[in-house]
Symmetry: C2
Subunit: 314 residues, 2 copies
């Protein structure tokens, strides 16, 4: 197996590109995909301060590494979610990376700093854990970006993640979400811009980036995510991909190409969607109290839930 | 398990409708779905002469039965495809139904009447068998409708068939096909109108119709279709359906609801797409010689291919 570029020994094959790469040229390929996503969707402007959502997994650490390598002013923010050993190990990986690069890692521990954790919030509100977790992350990253004066929040969502979301929204013809599923949301209502620079890379590719760059990442999946609907969609897409390599990328990148055109026409003509201000935290919200503050209130009043017996839902 | 309508003993459960039905009310449900499809897409007008494409399988016999029951002037046309025992048994089922109902069944035997068969046409042209077969069917049904003065050609495509096609076109963002995937194509260029009255029924439902109506149908799948891409899409949709009942119908019927609106606006404004006349058979075509005449010419020059060793492709 030889590198498509230099004919040296290849270490990875990418069937969707019908190509094999040596370490050097795989890293170059990866950088090009990230640069292209950033440029296509005007994700980061010169001089922007970037806050990277750092879980400690392969995607977020690869993202942070790539942004630092490109010279962006990128700090990390890691949330301690309170999901037992999984969270502890994730935090260790995030800190080790920051120490190694001499980068700034902000941290918020949900239980110590905010009086709740993800398992308890899910149990207290009856939400699936992934819903309570995503809600908390969005809120706390927005808040930290606002308080810290960051222009952009960058997350490590990859092609597999976005393809699964797109697949779910397509199956239900959720055309409103389909129209909004772009990897860059402009700043508005006091929220920083939100960008996903890894959308052109699969999770296999972000893992390979970490391995080749000797980045130690949390390899376990979150134990609370088992049975999550999106994992089911990922499985189905992987089945299709195995039968016909390139299917997944053609599905998502075909959508993304169309989204670029739409993005360019949309950024000029944006309305505020009738938002008001949360009466607890001051965030923009469609209700009197934002969803995060409502969840936190209920979770704080609830007994902590041990992670050894998480509630699982499909 | 009780019938939703009469509380009598149910014989079938329809998870997507969250309902069970006794034989009488299942048949009534089935009729309503067909009437709704016919009305939504103006498939058959009073006095229309209908030619039903009758393979001898559950879908085509259920369709013919339903149309006759509703009082439509519906004759059948059965093609002898030359696929060994599979074709022989299919022909027996088609004839038995016609005899039982005293209905008119036209027949064309590809080998005896046209000098080729499906396996040979596939081998001679390098096309997958399903491609050579579909092409031949479309051509011969169009021709028979024109020669016999039929207004409409009706085919037994069901919800599973259409959902699989839609799924494939969505995965590749084949937006041109997506836009045209309506279950009724208006008459034009000398072609009769083409309609699919069973698109609101799953294949499990058309099979149940035949069982309850004591219609003997060909239960085998075509041996040449193994590995066909659409069967793969059906499997994937069935996996999703098993995890979350209603997914498949929501996907296809959600599309269909949007297609009804589009259908109404499209039927008025139709262009001819730059067609000319085939120099062999006189059909409308985009080339000098139509695809069917090209395939037949090559197949007739080729040694017949025994079905015991069909060419299989994925």
């Amino acid at each position: 197996m030889k590198c498509r570029v230099c004919r040296g020994p290849a270490v990875i094959d990418l069937p969707r590109h019908n190509a094999n790469f040596c370490p050097e040229h795989f890293l170059a390929f990866t950088r090009r995909q990230v640069v292209r996503a950033i440029e296509d969707f005007e994700m980061i402007a010169p001089g922007d301060r970037v806050l990277v959502a750092v879980s400690g997994g392969k995607d977020s650490l690869a993202l942070w590494d790539l942004l630092l390598e490109h010279g962006y002013a990128a700090d990390g923010l890691h949330l301690g979610l309170g999901i037992g050993d999984y969270s502890d190990q994730s935090t260790r990986c995030a800190r080790a990376f920051a120490d190694d690069r001499g980068a700034t890692l902000l941290e918020i521990d949900l239980r110590a700093d905010r009086g709740f954790d993800v398992p308890t919030a899910a149990a207290a509100t009856g939400r699936p854990p992934c819903s309570a977790c995503g809600l908390s992350k969005r809120h706390l990253f927005d808040e930290a970006a606002r308080d810290g004066g960051y222009d952009v929040v960058a997350t490590g969502h990859n092609l597999d993640d976005e393809a699964a979301v797109l697949f779910g929204n397509t199956l239900t013809w959720n055309t409103e979400y389909l129209g909004r599923q772009v990897p860059a949301l402009p700043a508005r209502h006091g929220f920083a811009r939100k960008v996903k620079p890894l959308v052109r890379l699969t999770e296999r590719e972000t893992a390979a980036w970490c391995v080749l760059r000797r980045i130690d990442y949390q390899v376990e999946e979150c134990p609370l995510a088992a049975g999550n609907r999106h994992l089911g969609y990922k499985e189905v897409l992987n089945t299709l991909e195995a039968r016909s390599p390139g299917t997944k990328a053609a599905f998502y990148l075909g959508f993304l190409d169309r989204a670029v055109a739409r993005f360019r026409s949309d950024i000029a003509s944006d309305s505020d969607g009738g938002l008001q201000t949360c009466n607890r935290c001051g965030s923009a919200t469609t209700n009197e109290t934002c969803a995060f503050c409502s969840v936190v209130e209920r979770a704080r009043a609830h007994q902590p839930v041990p992670v050894s017996a998480p509630r699982r839902r499909r």
